[in-house]
């Protein structure tokens, strides 16, 4: 196994792709945390803890779950809304959960309103602007997500989670694979179960996140 670990940045002017550093994607039933393969059960716990610790835990639903292009996408979108509502219920005062849809990838450059959209080419803008210190990508085309996750790791200190419907993402700090409605609901259940057991890191943050 590689000694390289996928950690919150800012890592580098141009960080390497984690795959080129020997990080491998999980097999079915597994996930990875910081590039280390773990049981999927462990990843739910860690993802829930990261959300409950964050000052601005954020869900980024992508086009694959924002457009009702098939029945499964619509069900996933409903589950994501449930995940967000659960997060809102479970956070403590001072935490600010957000749900920022990214309906398409097309750049509105040079004019971009990161409050209502995220552009994978400029994810750091959205993260900087909103002081996001933990986020999850759901329903983003895989290689677009990889592009964003790597740029985020390069330029921000945001903890990134990917719920991938395919094989997962090495460039996230934590990644699930084969994401389904059931898995999104299970993450929500885990957040609910850990409510009140995790201290948010508000005290350690001076002016928002250090990104």
């Amino acid at each position: 196994m590689s000694d390289y670990r996928v950690l919150p940045g800012p890592e580098h002017f141009l960080p390497p792709a984690a795959a080129s550093m020997g990080i491998r994607l999980p097999n079915p039933g597994e996930a990875h945390i910081n590039g280390v393969i773990v049981r999927e059960e462990d990843a739910y716990e860690e993802a829930a803890r990261q959300f409950l610790m964050a000052k601005v835990p954020t869900i980024f639903p992508g086009p694959l779950v924002l457009w009702a292009w098939n029945e499964k996408a619509a069900k996933k979108a409903t589950a994501i809304r449930h995940l967000f509502n659960t997060l809102v219920e479970c956070v403590q005062p001072g935490q600010k959960p957000m749900l920022i849809p990214m309906p398409d990838y097309r750049p509105k450059y040079p004019k971009i309103n990161p409050e209502i959209e995220i552009n994978p080419n400029h994810p750091n803008l959205t993260i900087w602007h909103n002081k996001i210190d933990c986020c999850v990508f759901i329903g983003v085309h895989c290689h677009q997500a990889n592009l964003s996750l790597k740029i985020i790791r390069g330029g921000t200190s945001c903890y990134t989670i990917a719920m991938c419907a395919q094989a997962g993402h090495e460039d996230a700090m934590l990644s699930f694979r084969d994401a389904s409605v059931e898995k999104i609901m299970r993450l929500a259940d885990t957040i609910k179960r850990l409510k009140g057991t995790v201290q948010p890191r508000l005290a350690s943050v001076k002016n928002g996140v250090s990104n």
Binding site: L14, A17, N121, H141
Partner: protein, 403 residues
């Protein structure tokens, strides 16, 4: 759009049953058949559920391209036409793949070079096109004979590059190639190379899967990039392209995307190992002397090993199956006991020896050669001679043989 249901077990319009690819390739009965390599390409494509094949004549791939035209006439291939040139063919392949088709084409030698601009574009656009490269000489003076120099140019395009030794490899790897290159975490084009004529125009016994079974069709909805979106990276060519910007994030996006292509090559490693049963094959890895090669040089190496055994010299072999992904760890492990590593190649530059030297500790162990080029054959005797000379053993001069 309705949800896509599995097609496994259903039939296509030719009455072929869509079969789980693993079962098709590992459990289905095989029938020995005596075919040329070109005919084997045709038989693989018959079973590959290809949507589009685009052809352009250049020796030695013309025969395979023509034979697939027959498949089109028989209804096994969705669409088939001749492009205006190799450059046009590869561009048209891109268009078909952007549209969600499983695409196949063949090329060779100068045609490969003419189309070269398209290959990094395919990789950058994440198009899982399969291209057979029936290697031949590319330089002037003109040669149509086998010469693997063109592979050296493909190694840095971002494509997967495999090098088949035999027609049997060809049959299996064409089908397996689609399974690897279409994985969502890979989704890259594949250059499946062979040494022209030696493989394409000689007959061999090849074990074929049943003709009434075929691969499941390509599912473009598993693509990891949005389909046909000219506004988004990696394509983003139509409006406001990165090249028009002079800022950090534009460059970072382009740079990150280039890294992502090579990350996808790395991800193909797991799938290639699964389907090809490892990236290399080995024999006698405890021997002091190893031959490491790819393509038909492997066959010549095997024969050289047999001849050396007759003279009391024990020698091992590494057959390199995939050049991209490069089997770095595997080659290091297989050659760790070797004092001498010989790399016979059908090209003048010795690109494989350079790759191996850059991979292993103590690279002075690598003897780059023997080399032949321009279509010359490589008699196993010259491999034997190269090895015996390096070991300080007496060897016959081969130049005068037969005179």
């Amino acid at each position: 759009m309705a949800e896509i249901k599995s097609v496994i077990g259903t039939q296509n319009k030719k009455g072929q049953t869509y079969t789980d690819a693993w079962k098709l390739l590992n459990e289905a009965p095989r029938t020995p058949s005596f075919f040329t390599g070109s005919e084997v390409i045709k038989e693989a494509i018959r079973r590959a559920s290809c949507d589009v094949m685009i052809a352009y004549p250049i020796t030695p791939q013309s025969e395979a391209a023509a034979l697939i035209g027959e498949l089109f006439a028989e209804g096994y291939v969705g669409d088939y036409f001749r492009g205006e040139s190799e450059f046009a063919v590869m561009s048209q392949c891109a268009g078909a793949a952007f549209g969600g088709a499983r695409v196949f084409t063949t090329t060779a030698g100068p045609g490969t070079m003419r189309a070269m601009e398209n290959f990094p574009m395919w990789a950058g656009a994440r198009l899982p096109i399969q291209m057979i490269v029936t290697c031949r000489g590319i330089n002037s003076p003109l040669s149509i004979q086998p010469d693997t120099l063109e592979i050296a140019y493909l190694l840095n395009t971002g494509m997967l590059v495999w090098h088949a030794e035999t027609a049997q490899d060809f049959f299996d790897w064409i089908l397996k190639g689609y399974m690897v290159s279409e994985e969502p975490d890979v989704h890259l084009p594949l250059a499946l190379c062979c040494d022209g004529f030696f493989v394409t125009h000689t007959k061999d016994v090849v074990n074929l899967t049943p003709a009434d079974m075929c691969l499941p069709p390509y599912d473009p909805y598993r693509s990891p990039v949005p389909c046909m979106d000219m506004e988004c990276p990696p394509v983003r060519m139509m409006r406001d392209p990165f090249v028009m910007k002079s800022n950090y994030i534009s460059y970072a996006t382009h740079a990150s995307w280039q890294q992502e292509i090579w990350a996808a090559v790395e991800r193909s490693r797991k799938h290639s190992i699964h389907w090809l049963n490892g990236l290399i094959d080995t024999e006698n890895t405890d021997a002091d002397i190893m031959i490491v090669s790819s393509g038909t040089a492997v066959s010549q190496g095997r024969e050289a090993i047999r001849m050396l055994e007759d003279e009391g010299v024990r020698c091992g072999l590494v057959k390199v199956k995939t050049l991209r992904p490069w089997p770095e760890e595997e080659i290091r492990e297989a050659t760790k006991n070797a004092k001498h590593i010989f790399v016979p190649e059908f090209n003048v530059t010795g690109w494989l020896a350079k790759e191996i030297r850059a991979t292993i500790p103590n690279p002075h162990r690598v003897h780059a050669g023997p080399h032949v080029c321009g279509g010359m054959t490589m008699p196993p005797e010259i491999i034997v001679s190269e090895i015996k000379t390096a070991l300080g053993m007496k060897t016959l001069s081969l130049a005068g043989r037969g005179s």
